[in-house]
Structures are given as structure tokens and as C-alpha cells.
């Protein structure tokens, strides 16, 4: 399965600022997914990032707030813009595995605290 390097692992940010989260995959993948996980909660899909096209956002998430870049098949970034305390959460990137099982592999996550 793919190995994902996600940075930063955690950050404490001031409200009104922005944070960019990076995900690097050790192999080429078509789709990358960005999820948000509130403490003790399930994973909610933010958007799907395809190389060469605009990201597809889920209901409740907009590009102005969560701009995504996907410059190539191994890298993606998610920016959390104009942050408020409600954005405090864990953000995870994920890719679909290659092979017959197609399980998802997750990055280690970015724990964001907005103060």
C-alpha cells in the first residue's frame, strides 16, 4: 500500500490566519481525498483532488475556505483559510490503494488548534 507523508503533524494558529497542509505520496495516485475528523467523531469528506482539474467539494465545504492544489500525481495541499476556533480539528489526506482490495491509506493527520 502507498505511504503518505503529511505535514505538519500539529499546529496552533491564530484566528484569521491560514494554514497549508501538505501530503506527499510515495507512488502516483489518481485521486487524493481530504477528510476532517472532529475529536471523537467520524471522518467527513471535505473534497476530492484530481490532478489537472479543480477539486470536487462536498456539501458544506467551499473552495474559498478550503482551497486545494494538486500539481502532480504524488502531491496535494489543503489550505484552511481565515481560520476560526470552529476549524479546530484533525485533517487527514487519503489515497485509494492500488490492487484488488482498493483500501484507503491515510496520512498521519494534522491536528489543528485555532485560538
Amino acid at each position: 500500500s502507498a505511504v503518505i507523508s503529511q505535514k505538519p503533524s500539529r499546529d496552533i494558529c491564530q484566528r484569521g490566519t491560514s494554514l497549508t497542509i501538505q501530503c506527499q505520496v510515495d507512488s502516483q495516485v489518481t485521486m487524493m481525498f481530504w477528510y476532517r475528523q472532529q475529536p471523537g467523531q467520524s471522518l467527513t469528506l471535505i473534497a476530492t483532488a484530481n490532478q489537472g482539474s479543480e477539486a470536487t467539494y462536498e456539501s458544506g465545504f467551499v473552495i474559498d475556505k478550503f482551497p486545494i492544489s494538486r500539481p502532480n500525481l504524488t502531491f496535494s495541499t489543503l489550505t484552511v483559510s481565515n481560520m476560526s476556533p470552529e476549524d479546530s480539528s484533525i485533517y487527514l489526506c487519503s489515497v485509494v490503494g492500488q490492487g484488488s482490495d482498493y483500501g484507503y491509506t491515510f496520512g498521519s493527520g494534522t491536528r489543528l488548534t485555532v485560538v
Binding site: 467520524s42 487527514l92 490503494g97 483500501g103 484507503y104
Partner: protein, 109 residues
């Protein structure tokens, strides 16, 4: 649409068994199961693609009833290492994976 998972939590002693259920109101193409330990990323356990299919991972197995749009995860002879939160992921005819609310499993010695 988020699949419905039950129970919300279960406490076991080592060696006991448990069943976690997952159901969806949408027609399912596949069901995934993941385990997440505290402070870590979710880890893929298995995927079920066909109706009535069963798979296993260690002493953890699962079934998928495609007609009922339900899946169950079976923890057999539980070990301390089985502790964590289990999520089912439901995939319909698109590429998106929707996760259930999770079931927290605590295995005690």
C-alpha cells in the same frame, strides 16, 4: 449519506466475541472496515465487494449482505490489540467513501 453503525461502544474481556453492524439506506457497491487507535490514522482492515461475501483479518472477519445493504464485523476471541474505534465505510456507485459514526471497542485483560 452516512451509514449507520451500532453499537456505539462495546467493552470486552480478552477472549470474548463482539459484532459491529453497519447499514446503509443507499445501494452499496462495497463496504470497507477500518480501525483507528487513539492519536493515530485509521488503518484499513478489509473490503467486501460481493453480496454474502465474508473475509477475514487475523481473527476479525466480516460479512456483507448486498440485498439488505448491511455489513457486520466479527471480533472473535478478542485480544488487547483489538482495542480502538472501528469505522465502516460505505461506497455507492461513485468513488466516495462515507464513514459511519464509529464503534469504540475496549478489550480488558
Amino acid at each position: 449519506q452516512q451509514p449507520v453503525q451500532s453499537p456505539q461502544a462495546v467493552i470486552l474481556r480478552e477472549g470474548e466475541d463482539a459484532v459491529i453492524n453497519c447499514s446503509s439506506s443507499k445501494a452499496l457497491y462495497s463496504v470497507h472496515w477500518y480501525r483507528q487507535k487513539h492519536g493515530e490514522a485509521p488503518v484499513f482492515l478489509m473490503i467486501l465487494l460481493k453480496g454474502g461475501e465474508q473475509k477475514g483479518h487475523e481473527k476479525i472477519s466480516a460479512s456483507f449482505n448486498e440485498k439488505k445493504q448491511q455489513s457486520s464485523l466479527y471480533l472473535t476471541a478478542s485480544q488487547l490489540s483489538y482495542s480502538g474505534t472501528y469505522f465502516c465505510g460505505a461506497k455507492s456507485n461513485d468513488y466516495k467513501l462515507s464513514f459511519g459514526a464509529g464503534t469504540t471497542v475496549t478489550v480488558r485483560a
